[in-house]
């Protein structure tokens, strides 16, 4: 957990100047380390990275102008998200601090003093560690950031207190440390002010950390979405381009994701089948693959059943499918008899029994399809009757309106059962096919079905990518154009439809 957070925080540091505080370079050269005390000593404004930047900047400018100071002001002027906390060893801070303690009288260094004491908070920790100081510092402050942005200051104070104890071996040690150094200056008021400043600094650190984490998660999410999009495009599936505005029900979104994953696995199965058929492997092994394919289809029908229960309209309208697929949808899927018509000529060496079985299967599925279509037609009619009941142009009669809508809603519920029956029909057809045909023939069937749908999806993306300006020219082009070639080969497939 710590390491990861460290990475995140380190990742956000951008080197803008040679004097940038680089967290990821553990082996900083001594020269830089030596240089920093100078900055600290002369420019207390630089220490404002612990807390409120603006206030420190103001005080910094009051202290006078010199080249080092300008540089520090530039450091101070950088966006707060980049400079979170120092990573240099704190031992040298003793010196500048004592130097500053002399000038406590001036008001402009009061805030600097407070910020310095904040540096003090971190320093006792780092001083105690021999090596990996940088990590220690980070770990200390990371502990602050283990809490959400929403924490109030009181909670943050109480919560960070034990965390400091965890790492630093007691917050009181710090307090001792600060009082030890500040014995001249610390009266209760100053102590209270210091504590308040510490809290303010902690709050701002928490906010910065939360912001950074939000950015990181957003970035990761964006990467994921881009990957999905790329994967989907390579398969010819148009994601995002085909979802209607009102189509973002959770069931629909989840189905789209699961369906994309199903398509991924489907393409893997197709490749497996292809290689298995070409390799002429044993029937037993091929049978296992075929059974897996069948199970895979069953899984799809199960997913569709879940979708039908949660959002039947998403299933019905075919918004999960590509545009060309949508044109050929029959009850939100493939039409079993059409698939059979397409497959039978490709399975040429069929025995008489198989031929009869396939013919009967085709006929019975046609009858079932017809029955379902008739039932659905009646459902549409009854739904239309329910919605159109009563006077339509009289001005809505509220009492009747609600009962009317309730009736229509009731009728709508029956939609789900029709789509489930249609899926049941498809599932039964596939299983029956498996029974009639040999393993090899069934494998070829699954391959054909998969390839057919893949081509249909590819057609969508090709159509979407066609050059529209050259439309007139393309018409005159001979059939060497790729779109036309694909179109013609698809037409042969569509002849059975």
């Amino acid at each position: 957990m710590f390491k990861r957070t460290q990475y995140l925080l380190r990742g956000t540091v951008v080197d803008e100047t040679p004097r940038a505080i680089r967290f990821d370079s553990v082996g900083e050269d001594r020269q830089e380390r030596r240089q920093r005390p100078i900055i600290w000593e002369l420019q207390p404004a630089a220490a404002a990275y612990f807390g409120e930047l603006g206030e420190a900047l103001i005080h910094g400018t009051c202290a006078g102008v010199n080249p080092v100071m300008i540089e520090a002001a530039y450091l101070a002027a950088r966006p707060p998200t980049l400079e979170i906390f120092p990573s240099w060893p704190m031992s040298h801070l003793q010196q500048p601090y004592s130097a500053n303690s002399q000038s406590v009288g001036s008001t402009d260094s009061s805030s600097a003093q407070n910020t310095m004491s904040q540096a003090e908070l971190v320093s006792p920790v780092s001083m105690r560690t021999d090596c990996g100081q940088q990590q220690e510092v980070l770990m200390v402050t990371i502990d602050d950031y283990n809490y959400n942005q929403g924490l109030g200051p009181a909670a943050a104070a109480t919560v960070t207190a034990p965390s400091f104890q965890q790492h630093a071996g007691g917050q009181d040690k710090r307090k001792h440390g600060s009082t030890r150094k500040d014995d001249k200056l610390l009266d209760p008021k100053t102590e209270r002010r210091l504590a308040q400043n510490r809290e303010a600094a902690r709050k701002s650190r928490l906010r910065k950390k939360a912001y950074v984490q939000q950015l990181e998660t957003g970035r990761i999410r964006l990467q994921q979405i881009e990957q999905e999009l790329q994967r989907g495009r390579s398969q010819g599936l148009l994601i995002g381009g085909c979802s209607a505005p009102g189509d973002t029900s959770p069931g629909a979104v989840m189905f789209d994701m699961e369906y994309a994953r199903w398509l991924d696995e489907d393409s893997k199965y197709m490749i497996e089948l292809q290689s298995a058929l070409q390799a002429h492997i044993l029937d037993g092994n091929l049978g296992t693959i075929v059974e897996e394919c069948l199970r895979h289809y069953d899984e799809l029908f199960h997913l569709r059943g879940v979708l039908a229960r949660s959002d039947v309209f998403h299933l019905m309208t075919g918004m999960w499918a590509t545009q060309s697929e949508r044109c050929f949808l029959w009850m939100a899927g493939f039409r079993p008899s059409e698939i059979l018509k397409m497959l039978t000529p490709q399975l040429d060496p069929l025995t008489e029994q198989q031929l009869l079985g396939m013919f009967n299967l085709q006929q019975s599925s046609e009858q079932a399809e017809e029955a379902l279509a008739q039932g659905l037609k009646q459902l549409h009619q009854s739904l239309a009757d329910a919605v159109g009941a009563g006077p339509l142009n009289d001005g809505a009669d509220v009492a009747n309106y609600t009962s009317l809508m309730a009736l229509a809603l009731d009728r709508l519920d029956n939609l789900e059962s029709f789509y489930r029956e249609a899926d049941n029909l498809r599932r039964q057809t596939l299983h029956r096919m498996r029974q009639i045909l040999t393993t090899r023939q069934t494998a070829r069937c699954f391959l054909s079905i998969g390839e057919y749908h893949r081509r249909l999806r590819a057609l969508s993306s090709i159509w979407a990518a066609r050059p529209r300006e050259n439309f007139i020219m393309a018409e005159n082009v001979s059939s060497t154009g790729t779109e036309f070639q694909v179109h013609q080969s698809q037409q042969n497939q569509f002849s059975g439809l």
Binding site: A368, E370, A371, Q374, L379, R420, N424, R432
Partner: protein, 135 residues
């Protein structure tokens, strides 16, 4: 397709009528189911029942249809049917009970079972055995 004349059951026929009204719903279901080769219990407004009827008509079968909503004792029959069908692994508890199909006095089930039987090729032999189909 014949629609059983339900009102015939309510003509006062004396002791015979009293005896038939004492009959339990399940017994009545079974009696009705064995009266005809193909019996379909349905509801007049149900579209899935319409689909089942269309399926049988398309095959050339003429089932006897009992509309439960037109039967004064229809509710009991529906409950009895639900109990009978429940053991058959119906789709879901929220799904309506009807249509329920009996062939040759034996329960086949709801639409999903009927369709599965038809695709499997087991429906036609069943119908032929029950005498509902000749070819």
């Amino acid at each position: 397709m014949q629609y059983a004349a339900e009102q015939a059951w309510y003509m006062p026929m004396g002791p015979a009528a009293a005896a038939s009204s004492m009959e339990s719903a399940v017994a009545r279901v079974e009696r009705l189911a064995s009266e005809s080769a193909v019996v379909v219990f349905s509801v007049s407004s149900c579209c899935m029942c319409h689909a089942v009827k269309r399926l049988f008509c398309g095959m050339g079968v003429h089932p006897t249809v009992h509309e439960l909503d037109l039967d004064p004792r229809g509710r009991e029959l529906e409950r009895a049917l639900a109990r009978l069908v429940a053991g058959f692994g119906a789709f879901g508890s929220a799904a309506p009970v009807v249509p329920v199909v009996f062939i040759g006095g034996r329960l086949v089930g709801a639409m999903d079972r009927v369709m599965a039987a038809h695709i499997n090729g087991s429906l036609v032999p069943l119908l032929k055995d029950a005498g509902a189909l000749w070819l």
